[in-house]
C-alpha cells in the first residue's frame, strides 16, 4: 500500500553458506508495531540492521517514505537516524554514552538536531527522565552507575526525545531480570501508544511480542515463514515452525 512508512522487498543476504536473509519482504505503516520473532540465528537481527541501513543486502530494496535507504548517501541516512528514526540496542551500553551524564545522553539528539538553549535542553531532559520513570534528581549522574533496567530506560528516553516516526528495537528486554522486563515492556507499550510510533521490534520473547505488537513475522533460516495479526499467528499458528515456537513457551 502506498501509505507505508517503510517497504522492503526481495532482501537477500548470505554469510558464507548460511542464508541470513532469503527473499524477505516487509511493510510497516505509521503507528504500527511489528514484531520479528524467531530463534537465534534465524536472521531477525540481520533483517533489522538491513532495514535500518546499517548493513547492505546482497539484493533487494528498502524504501523509507519512498526513498531507497541503501541508495541514499550516508549523510542522509545518518540524518534519518538522528531525527525520524531511532535504534534501541539490546545492550544499553551500545546505545548510551556511559561517561556522559543522563541529561547529556538525552540531550545529545536534541543538540544534534540544532537545539542550542541549555535551559531548554535540560528541561526537556528532565521531562523525559520522568516519562521513563527515572528520578530527575539523577540528571547529572553517569549512566555507568545505573542499573541495567535504568540504563535501558535511559536509552529509550534518549532515542524518543526527538519524537522519531520509526523506532528499531533489538531485543530491548534481552539482558534484564524478569521483573525489570515487565516494567520496561509496559513502559514501551505506553510510550509507543502515546506517541503513535511505528516500531520494528526483534525479540525471541513471544509474550513481549503479544503485548507490544500489532503484527508479527516469524523468521526461520532467513525466511519469513509466517506473518499476520499477532493474535492470529500466536493462537492459530499454521507453519510447523511457528507451532513449535508457540508450544515451547509457557502461557504466552
Amino acid at each position: 500500500m502506498s501509505d507505508a512508512l517503510m517497504q522492503a522487498s526481495g532482501l537477500t543476504l548470505r554469510f558464507g553458506a548460511v542464508a541470513a536473509l532469503d527473499d524477505v519482504a516487509l511493510e510497516i505503516h505509521p503507528g504500527e508495531v511489528v514484531a520479528i520473532v524467531g530463534e537465534s540465528g534465524s536472521g531477525k537481527t540481520t533483517l533489522l540492521r538491513v532495514l535500518a541501513g546499517m548493513m547492505a543486502p546482497a539484493s533487494g530494496q528498502v524504501l523509507y517514505a519512498g526513498e531507497d535507504v541503501h541508495a541514499m548517501g550516508e549523510s542522509a541516512r545518518r540524518r534519518l537516524m538522528r531525527s525520524e528514526w531511532g535504534f534501541v540496542h539490546q545492550n544499553p551500553r551500545d546505545g548510551l554514552r556511559l561517561r556522559v551524564s543522563a541529561g547529556g545522553n538525552v540531550g545529545e539528539r536534541l543538540m544534534a538536531a540544532g537545539a542550542r538553549h541549555y535551559g531548554g535542553i535540560r528541561a526537556e531532559a528532565i521531562e523525559w527522565l520522568k516519562r521513563v520513570e527515572i528520578d530527575p534528581a539523577r540528571i547529572d549522574d553517569m549512566p555507568e552507575k545505573f542499573s541495567g533496567g535504568m540504563q535501558q530506560r535511559l536509552q529509550i528516553a534518549r532515542t524518543l526525545v526527538t519524537q522519531p516516526k520509526l523506532v528499531f528495537m533489538d531485543e530491548p528486554t534481552g539482558g534484564l531480570d524478569v521483573s525489570v522486563q515487565a516494567k520496561l515492556l509496559d513502559l514501551i507499550r505506553a510510550l509507543v501508544a502515546e506517541l503513535g510510533l511505528a516500531v520494528l521490534i526483534v525479540t525471541h520473547d513471544i509474550a513481549a511480542a503479544r503485548l507490544l505488537a500489532h503484527r508479527i513475522l516469524v523468521m526461520r533460516r532467513g525466511q519469513v515463514v509466517e506473518q499476520g495479526l499477532v493474535d492470529r499467528v500466536l493462537d492459530d499458528p499454521q507453519h510447523p515452525y511457528t507451532q513449535l515456537l508457540v508450544s515451547s513457551v509457557l502461557a504466552a
Partner: protein, 282 residues
C-alpha cells in the same frame, strides 16, 4: 645569507610544493583538516615541526619573520625557530608584530590587530577537536564529513551541568565558516574572538599528526556556545605590572619566595610598545 648546503627555507622545493598544494586546499575548505606528508625536521615533534614546515613553504626572500611562543619573542622555542630561518632562509626577522609579514606562533594570537597581507602560522599539537570525545579516527572523519557535531555540544553541556559554566579555557572549539568544527590550537579562549573575520591569513600546521588547515581572511569563526550560556572570553582580572594594560592577556608570575603574584602581558611586543606604567582606568 643562507648557510651553505641548504635549500632556501630548509625544505626541498618538491616538499614545499606538496605543502603549498595542501595549503591551497585548506584555504579553499576553511577549517577542514588536509593531510600532508609531514617531513622529519631538525627538532623534535611538539616543538613546532608543523608550523615550521608551513612557514618554510610560504616564506619568500622578501618576507620578514616574527616567531612567538606563548606570546613572547624571547623564549627558547621562539628564539631557536627565528635563528633557524635566519640561517636556512636568510630572511629578515623582527619582534614587531606590525613589521612582520609572516608570524609563526605557539599558543597565542598577537594583541595588535593583524593586517591584510600578513600570515599567521599556528603550531598545532592535536588538530582534531573531537579526539577526546570520540577515540575512533574514522568516526571523527565521518562526523566532520556530515557536520555531525552534536557530541561537541554534549561536552559543553556537561561542563555547564557540572561546573555551571564551560570550563574549557584554551583550545576552545570553533565553527569555521558555519561548516567545519576546528581546533584553534591551544590558544587561550580569550584569543578566540580575534580569529573571527581576521584580516590576515591564518594557517595551522600539525607535524606529528600530519594535518594542515586554514582560515582565509575575513572568515567567520564562532566559538561554540549555548544561547543562554554565551561564550565569554576570560582573562585575569588584573593589570600588567609593566605596562598597566587591563585589556591584554596576562601571564601570572610568582615573583618572590613568599608566593607573591604579579601579572604581566603575555604578548611581550605589545607590552614593550606601550608607554610604561600608565594604568588604564578599569
Amino acid at each position: 645569507m643562507i648557510e651553505a648546503g641548504y635549500n632556501f627555507g630548509y625544505l626541498d622545493e618538491n616538499t614545499k610544493r606538496m605543502i603549498r598544494r595542501a595549503l591551497l586546499k585548506a584555504v579553499a575548505l576553511p577549517g577542514f583538516q588536509v593531510p600532508f606528508g609531514s617531513r622529519e625536521m631538525p627538532l623534535p615533534y611538539g616543538w613546532g615541526t608543523g608550523g615550521i614546515q608551513v612557514t618554510a613553504s610560504v616564506l619568500g626572500p622578501d618576507d620578514t619573520l616574527k616567531v612567538i611562543d606563548q606570546g613572547a619573542d624571547d623564549t627558547t622555542n621562539a628564539v631557536s625557530i627565528r635563528r633557524f630561518f635566519g640561517r636556512v632562509a636568510g630572511v629578515a626577522t623582527t619582534e614587531k608584530t606590525e613589521e612582520a609579514t609572516v608570524i609563526q606562533t605557539r599558543h597565542r594570537v598577537p594583541e595588535a590587530p593583524l593586517q591584510e597581507g600578513q600570515i599567521l602560522v599556528y603550531q598545532v599539537p592535536m588538530p582534531e577537536p573531537l579526539f577526546r570525545l570520540e577515540p575512533r579516527v574514522a568516526e571523527t572523519k565521518r562526523m566532520h564529513a556530515l557536520a555531525d557535531y552534536g557530541l561537541m555540544h554534549v561536552k559543553l553541556y556537561e561542563d555547564i551541568a557540572r561546573h555551571g559554566a564551560v570550563t574549557t579555557s584554551y583550545n576552545y572549539p570553533v565553527l569555521v565558516n558555519g561548516r567545519y568544527l576546528m581546533s584553534p590550537s591551544p590558544i587561550p579562549a580569550f584569543d578566540n574572538p580575534k580569529l573571527h573575520r581576521m584580516a590576515a591569513l591564518q594557517l595551522f600546521g600539525a607535524g606529528r599528526e600530519k594535518r594542515i588547515y586554514a582560515v582565509p581572511p575575513y572568515t567567520d569563526v564562532r566559538s561554540l556556545d549555548f544561547e543562554d550560556h554565551p561564550f565569554v572570553p576570560v582573562r585575569a582580572d588584573a593589570a600588567c605590572v609593566i605596562c598597566g594594560s587591563r585589556s591584554s592577556y596576562l601571564d601570572e608570575l610568582i615573583v618572590d619566595d613568599t608566593g607573591k603574584r604579579a601579572f604581566v602581558c603575555s604578548d611581550t611586543d605589545y607590552c614593550a610598545s606601550r608607554p610604561p606604567l600608565e594604568e588604564e582606568a578599569a
